[in-house]
């Protein structure tokens, strides 16, 4: 575990060095402030549109940070041949996979915390009522979302030939699941065989990332969700993250370390 944390620490340092996070954060802040300064019919009390657009930008930014950071980890180590001295130390391939996962997840969580701090300030400046429990749940569930996506992208980084292809594919898959995942079962029921069965198979096996998307609950100040459902969603994220990590390790265990 200590070895994995050490590897993960390096990934977090990489987040500080690279400009992705800073660019995305500044972009989100500037766009939100610009939108917030707009005046609609002389009314400046409308807050929900601002929250919705700010959360959308946060979701896009965190997804891009998580996927782009993860996709290049293992391929970069192999390309620069730094993987050989790394594995020559008492570091197993599982340590490496788990360490990379921990590092990418920690980096995403740090970015997420900064984004939510900004979002909290924006909301507090405009809102009359804030459901704090939902804010905390939304933050933790988005971190859980990042964990599943990072584990999935890590699997992609040992199976897909190039980091750019992996990044694109992961973004498409995560975006599609978020957009259409909830409705896939409904769509399948309206189709003919064998497409129906195939689609249902996808529906029941894919990770339902929409479980972690509480944006509408936050935007519309809905009542806090039950703690039991929140724990259920966290368990679901843990299961899928573990599945993807084990699959990554199984593939990486037998993989030749040359590009």
């Amino acid at each position: 575990m200590r070895t994995s944390w050490a590897i993960g620490g390096l990934v977090v340092k990489e987040l500080y060095r690279r400009k992705d996070f800073y660019v995305l954060f500044v972009l989100t802040a500037v766009l939100t402030i610009l939108l917030g300064s707009m005046n609609f019919f002389g009314d400046i009390s409308a807050a929900r549109y601002l929250k919705e657009l700010c959360l959308l930008l946060i979701w896009i930014s965190v997804m891009v940070i998580a996927i782009a950071t993860t996709a290049r980890q293992i391929p970069a180590e192999m390309e620069q041949r730094t993987i050989f001295p790394l594995l020559a130390k008492p570091v197993t391939r599982w340590h490496l996979v788990f360490g990379k996962f921990l590092g990418c997840w920690a980096a995403s969580c740090i970015a997420l915390a900064v984004f939510y701090l900004f979002f909290g300030v924006v909301s507090a400046a405009r809102e009359k009522e804030i459901v704090f429990a939902n804010y905390a749940y939304a933050l933790v569930l988005q971190a859980a979302f990042a964990a599943v996506v990072i584990a999935m992208t890590l699997l992609g980084s040992v199976t897909i030939s190039t980091p750019s292809a992996n990044t694109t594919l992961s973004l498409i898959v995560a975006g599609s699941v978020l957009f259409v995942g909830r409705h896939l079962g409904q769509i399948a029921q309206r189709l003919d065989e064998p497409v129906r069965t195939l689609l249902q198979l996808v529906y029941f096996t894919m990770p339902h990332l929409e479980f972690f998307d509480m944006r509408d609950m936050l935007v519309h100040n809905r009542a806090a969700i039950s703690f039991a459902w929140f724990l259920g969603a966290l368990g679901y994220a843990m299961l899928y993250s573990a599945f993807f990590l084990c699959a990554t390790w199984l593939v990486f265990r037998r993989k030749a370390l040359t590009l």
Partner: protein
């Protein structure tokens, strides 16, 4: 030689630019559209921005329901997308006009032919809104919006805890300003989407107490859609009900009838509901100003388009009685 080529290129560029500035407005006029404002959105997105306008209009409706709204995947059994625009039905039922129950029972406020069929969803809403019912009572009647149905599997059941899956509305006193940004954006994206102006003006004047902003927005809409009788009808209502300016209201409403005749008379299915709204507003003005003779004329017109001509006839007799009474007094 090189210099000549540069000059030729520049001359070509200048002539292309000049031609585009001359032709673009003419082309827009020919298509029946007035050129929109030269804002960033129209410059960047061009005509494609109209595609997004409807999305933002529906977004305003979704905000009114606090996020509980059918997506494009939530369909009825018959295959129709669920959820007509509730904001429009709120405006058309116009509970603010019928502030009291007595007024609501006025035969002149009867629905008009042609609207019942197409707005069965709206009709369900109309019974509850604006008559002092609690939110709970109102929601019981809104079965049409229970678009989610029973959960089909555990994923569906579990997922419903993480998005708004219960019907609620923005509170009357506060929160209704939340729909305004989306309506403004929809108007920016499609300046020819007439219902955006009328719906926004309705909410501004009745729920948010901003008749001046409503007038300003309707004027913007009128400038871009000079033949839209709906905009004039709403403008007339603002003058009549919020500005207490019956003379201007009458002028605007009469112009709305002229525009309606110009635009709808030749159509296979004219907007009878729109005409009914204009005439009803005029009847109210006649009643409040004691212009019974003109009121008779308007009620006779209303009788031809109302699904309940018997009720209009009762009111017509009342108006005729006032006219004859006035004659006797003289």
């Amino acid at each position: 030689m090189n210099r000549l080529a540069y000059f030729a290129l520049m001359a070509l560029f200048a002539s292309c630019f000049t031609a585009s500035t001359v032709l673009a407005p003419r082309f827009a006029e020919r298509n029946g559209r007035r050129p929109g404002r030269g804002d960033l959105l129209s410059v960047v997105l061009g005509d494609s921005r109209r595609l997004f306008a409807n999305h933002f209009f529906l977004k305003a409706d979704a905000y009114f329901h606090s996020g509980y709204y059918p997506s494009i995947f939530d369909v009825k059994d018959e295959g129709k997308v669920r959820g007509d625009v509730h904001l429009v039905s709120e405006q058309e039922s116009d509970p603010h006009d019928a502030a009291s129950k007595e007024e609501h029972q006025d035969p002149a406020h009867e629905p008009v032919k042609g609207k019942d069929k197409e707005q069965d969803h709206d009709h369900d809403h109309d019974h509850g809104h604006g008559q002092g019912e609690s939110d709970g009572d109102r929601h019981d009647q809104e079965d049409e919006l229970k678009f989610l149905g029973k959960a089909s599997d555990w994923i569906d059941r579990f997922g419903r805890h993480f998005f708004p899956s219960e019907h609620s509305h923005l509170e009357r006193a506060t929160g209704q300003e939340e729909i305004l940004p989306w309506l403004r954006l929809a108007a920016e994206l499609d300046p020819n989407k007439v219902e955006v102006y009328t719906v926004a003006a309705f909410w501004l004047r009745t729920r948010l107490g901003k008749p001046d902003e409503a007038i300003q927005f309707l004027r913007e809409g009128w400038l871009l859609n000079p033949d839209a009788h709906q905009i004039l009808c709403e403008l007339g209502k603002v003058f009549a009900e919020n500005r207490n300016d019956p003379v201007r209201a009458r002028n605007v409403l009469e112009l709305a009838i002229v525009k309606w005749r110009k635009g709808e008379m030749g159509k296979a299915e004219p907007d009878v509901f729109g005409l009914g709204q204009i005439v009803t507003a005029l009847v109210r003005l006649d009643e409040s100003e004691g212009r019974w003779q003109e009121g008779v004329g308007h009620l006779e017109l209303l009788k031809t388009i109302s699904p309940n001509p018997d009720k209009i006839e009762i009111l017509l007799k009342e108006f005729r009685g006032k006219v004859s009474g006035k004659g006797k007094d003289r």
